[in-house]
Amino acid sequence: MAFTVNVNGQDRQVDLPGAMPLLWVLRDELGLLGTKFGCGIAQCGACTVHVDGAAVRSCSLPLEAVGEGKVTTIEAIAKSPVGAALQAAWVEHDVPQCGYCQSGQIMTACAALTENPKLGRAGAVEALNGNICRCGCYNRIGDAVAAVAQKLEGGARAKA
């Protein structure tokens, strides 16, 4: 089946079965390798991408269900100010151990903080509860996300 998917701002033509999860379209067809395979059953969050800005588990989203949705992956998240701030905070706080879960963590945090800049540390961490970090980097993920949340809250307050 021929599909057109919009990924990171570009329309991409693919000819694949509609049942193929978006994760494998990204990885094996489009060569976007930052989105990771962890469980395949929407349990770990390693495969998180944005569809129209919302965090979605790409392992469980069939290609045919993407439709007109605009897909953003970790490779393009720096274009979002929140995404770029999270990436910088991840480096600053030396967050990763093995690093395998981290693109999913950043994508989830980015969607949550973009949707609600006043989320704060507790809210952001709650949004991240579905993302497993097997290495247990949770304290630093919390610190990094809190630093960004604090900046955003400050910004939101200044505007208000």
Binding site: L16, P17, A19, M20, P21, L23, W24, R27, D28, E29, G31, L32, L33, G34, T35, K36, F37, G38, C39, G40, I41, Q43, C44, A46, T73, I74, E75, I77, A78, L86, Q87, W90, V91, D94, V95, P96, Q97, C98, G99, Y100, C101, Q102, S103, I106, E126, L128, N129, G130, N131, I132, C133, R134, C135, G136, C137, Y138, N139, R140, I141, G142
Partner: protein
């Protein structure tokens, strides 16, 4: 196992010039010293290969990261050691990844917390040797004695004349000099360390947050196909018949063929290879596979059957006495109190975040692999044995690894990938194991049961102690990572002691998991000792300090390793008692409780205090305090804090939500829905990480901080609720008080 402090004596360095000018240093090891560690005979001798440390004319220092990176931070910490002695500018150090070549690099192995102790001195000498060459080159150029020169951040200075130059400027001249023999190389006074002991960020992080490809799964080669390896759910079952027509008719499928194994799950079991243009298409096609397996191997191997067998064995005398001191029966006669309890912990799977995978190409009779492996040599050996190829025909590229925890010390996936690639010469193949298959075909942390007995005299002193492990065996021997040893705590500290083991025969493959053996037994022993402490009218740290007595070293469990040092044990216990405010803790039963535990493993000592909250059957862990002694230096303080916190969180996750069970040789739990990993919500808000610095060789930190957190948690639950947790995972409702 070689003794870490003898290894570097026979290491040597070779010097050469870089192609475009500059200095190249090759590190060679007398590989036979490591033969015991990697389980094979002599390795090919070192030749002049790629530079290990190189300094370009522009001053850029490139260091090869030679050990597998599984998230333990070794690709940052080993280069830090070299850069320290080299007096390099850390901001101008670039780190690249090595191929598997133990003849050239020495052990390339991530396990047993061994990377740090085996490399500490060789890496320091490598850096110091390079520095010495550069200094002598500058001294010759200026016609001054080398002793008058000083170095800092890649710059050489002569104070008397005010001259200075850079490493890059003298690198080409240094390449023409002969390096001093190892014994003449002067190492830095640790008081002058400026890189070691600092919090350095992991070098790979900027790439990680951008989603750059670096893991095994990210390997891409032109024309590559993706594979699944369909196996029976029963571990080690034999393939009788496979119908492949329906599979081959599925979209994207290019090949499907049976692979005959050699019956060894560590190497190659029978399976069906399915290769397609996209991995999901191969996985999807596997649903169409009709195969008949001989699954008799698994008959009767069920968790319930194991538990039924264990119950009477726990009451009986051990089949094997591992250690006997004094006279336990006589001590029983004179004891004022006798405490007895039985404990249990389940099988566990490592569940690393990156599923098992390996990319392989078979071309012109030679194999090239791209493997996320903790022990490349183990995979090479497996391929040699299972496929009958020469070791010299195998090249392994080590990728970054999305978590190991010991699972990737065993490299069945490398052998499978090679076997599949052999079926399609010239076509690269990426084998990705589904999460379900990964979980169902593991090398599990073996479960076990313990029957304990402790004897107390009228003053509450422990006069007798017995620990009987009912564990698992195969062919009359304990399974891998399932053996109790003669030094198990509190051996050597109690006059009348019995350690014994009885095995239940199993076909479930087992293997090392983060802090092997210790990860289970520490829970049981330190929880039981908490019961003993209560019976003796003391708290656990007080009881342990009394049992430890004067600082001294006990004999080692393994020849060549340092034995248990009671002084170091005291050090971490006293430290965490102080940092946690243990003596002032609220002791009344209620929602909050505090628990303590201590353990020694992998040459590291760790004592921990857990604050638990139990509210309407829900457990949370607000705070954990840790004190750990891993020797004279913490190389990267940021990485070290990460390892300890990760261990604590890992342990809490295991204790609360993890168990593998089996039914007739088949794993029941297969994915993260049934195996609860620690998540943000259970992460302690504060995990205090303190170190006790002792005058001992530095050792690794991936393991020693894990075991004690589990009994500290269960002891805290007892303090809060009066419920004694004697079985993992923790089930509050099922636990008798």
């Amino acid at each position: 196992m070689p003794r870490p402090d003898t290894i570097d004596r026979r290491s040597f360095l070779r010097v050469g010039a870089l192609a475009g000018g500059g200095l190249a240093l090759n590190l060679g090891f007398a590989a036979d010293l490591f033969a015991a560690e990697i389980g094979k005979g002599a390795l090919p001798s070192a030749g002049m290969l790629n530079a290990f440390v190189s300094i370009a004319p522009d001053g850029l220092v490139t260091i090869v990261s030679k050990n597998p990176e599984i998230g333990q931070g070794i690709s940052t910490s080993l280069p830090m050691i070299i850069a320290e002695e080299l007096d390099a500018d850390w901001d101008r150090v670039v780190i690249t990844r090595a191929q598997a070549n133990q003849a050239l690099y020495g052990p390339q192995f991530a396990g047993g917390s061994l990377s740090t102790p085996t490399n500490w001195l060789p890496m320091r000498r490598a850096g110091a040797t390079a520095r010495d060459l550069l200094v002598r080159a500058a001294a010759a150029e200026w016609g001054v004695p080398a002793a008058e020169l000083s170095t800092a951040k890649g710059v050489i200075s002569h104070a008397a004349s005010g001259r200075s130059t850079t490493y890059g400027a003298v690198a080409s001249a240094a390449a023409k000099l002969t390096p001093l023999p190892a014994e003449q190389i002067k190492l830095k006074d640790p008081a002058r360390f400026s890189i070691i002991g600092k919090p350095m960020r992991q070098v790979a992080t900027p790439g990680i947050v951008r989603g750059e490809p670096m893991f095994g799964l990210d390997t891409r080669l032109p024309g590559m196909l993706f594979a699944v390896y369909a196996r029976s759910p029963v571990i080690g079952a034999k393939l009788k018949r496979a119908e492949l027509d329906a599979v081959k008719a599925k979209p994207g499928v290019r090949h499907a063929f049976p692979v005959q194994g050699n019956g060894n799950p560590m190497e190659l079991v029978d399976g069906v290879a399915i290769l397609a243009t996209h991995w999901w298409l191969a996985r999807d096609a596997s649903d169409a596979l009709v195969a008949e397996w001989d699954e008799t191997i698994g008959a009767g191997h069920s968790s319930t059957t194991y538990a039924e067998k264990a119950a009477p064995l726990l009451k009986a005398v051990p089949a094997k006495v591992v250690r006997q001191d004094g006279d336990l029966a006589a001590a029983r006669g004179s004891a004022a109190k006798r405490v007895q309890a039985e404990y249990h912990y389940p099988f566990l799977h490592h569940m690393p975040m990156e599923p098992q995978n390996c990319t392989a190409l078979y071309e012109n009779g030679k194999f090239t692999l791209w493997a996320p492996t903790q022990a490349p040599q183990n995979g090479i050996d497996g391929i040699v044995k299972a496929l009958g190829v020469a070791e010299s025909d195998i090249t392994v590229n080590i990728t970054r690894i999305g978590g190991g925890f010991g699972r990737r010390l065993i490299n069945d996936t490398m052998v499978q990938a090679a076997a599949i690639a052999k079926g399609v010469p010239g076509t690269p193949v990426q084998l990705i194991v589904t999460r379900e298959d990964d979980t169902m075909h593991g090398f599990y942390r073996p479960g076990g049961w313990h029957a304990y007995e402790a004897l107390l005299d009228g003053k509450g002193k422990v006069t007798g102690f017995a620990n009987h492990l009912v564990g698992f065996g195969t062919g009359g021997k304990p399974v891998r990572s399932g053996e109790i040893n003669a030094q198990e705590f509190p051996a050597g500290l109690v006059d009348n002691l019995l350690i014994g083991q009885t095995n239940i025969e199993t076909m479930i493959p087992t293997g090392p998991m983060r802090a092997p053996f210790s990860n289970g037994i520490c829970f049981a022993s330190q929880s039981f000792l908490d019961e003993v402490a209560l019976a003796s009218g003391r708290d656990l740290p007080t009881l342990l300090l009394e049992m430890l007595g004067e600082p001294r070293q006990l004999p080692s469990a393994r020849p060549g390793q340092r034995g248990f040092d009671t002084g170091r044990a005291r050090g971490v216990i006293e430290k965490v008692v102080a940092t946690s405010g243990w003596k002032q803790r609220p002791k009344a039963r209620g929602k909050t409780g505090y628990g303590f535990a201590f353990y020694f493993c992998h040459q590291g000592y760790s004592a921990q205090v857990v604050e638990v909250r139990v509210d309407q059957g829900k457990i949370s862990v607000p705070r954990v305090w840790t004190a750990t002694d891993v020797g004279s230096h913490i190389i990267n303080t940021s990485g070290a804090q990460h390892q300890v916190r990760g261990s604590v969180i890992d342990g809490i996750g295991q204790a609360l939500g993890q168990a593998m069970t089996f039914e007739n040789g088949k794993a029941v739990e297969t994915n993260f829905d049934a195996i609860q990993m620690a998540r943000h919500e259970i992460t302690p808000g504060r995990i205090e990480v303190d170190f006790v610095i002792s005058d001992n060789p530095p050792t690794g930190l991936g393991e020693p901080a894990l075991p004690p957190v589990i009994p500290a948690l269960t002891n805290a639950i007892f303090a809060a609720t009066g419920k004694r947790i004697r079985s993992l995972p923790i089930r509050l409702d099922e636990t008798a008080a």
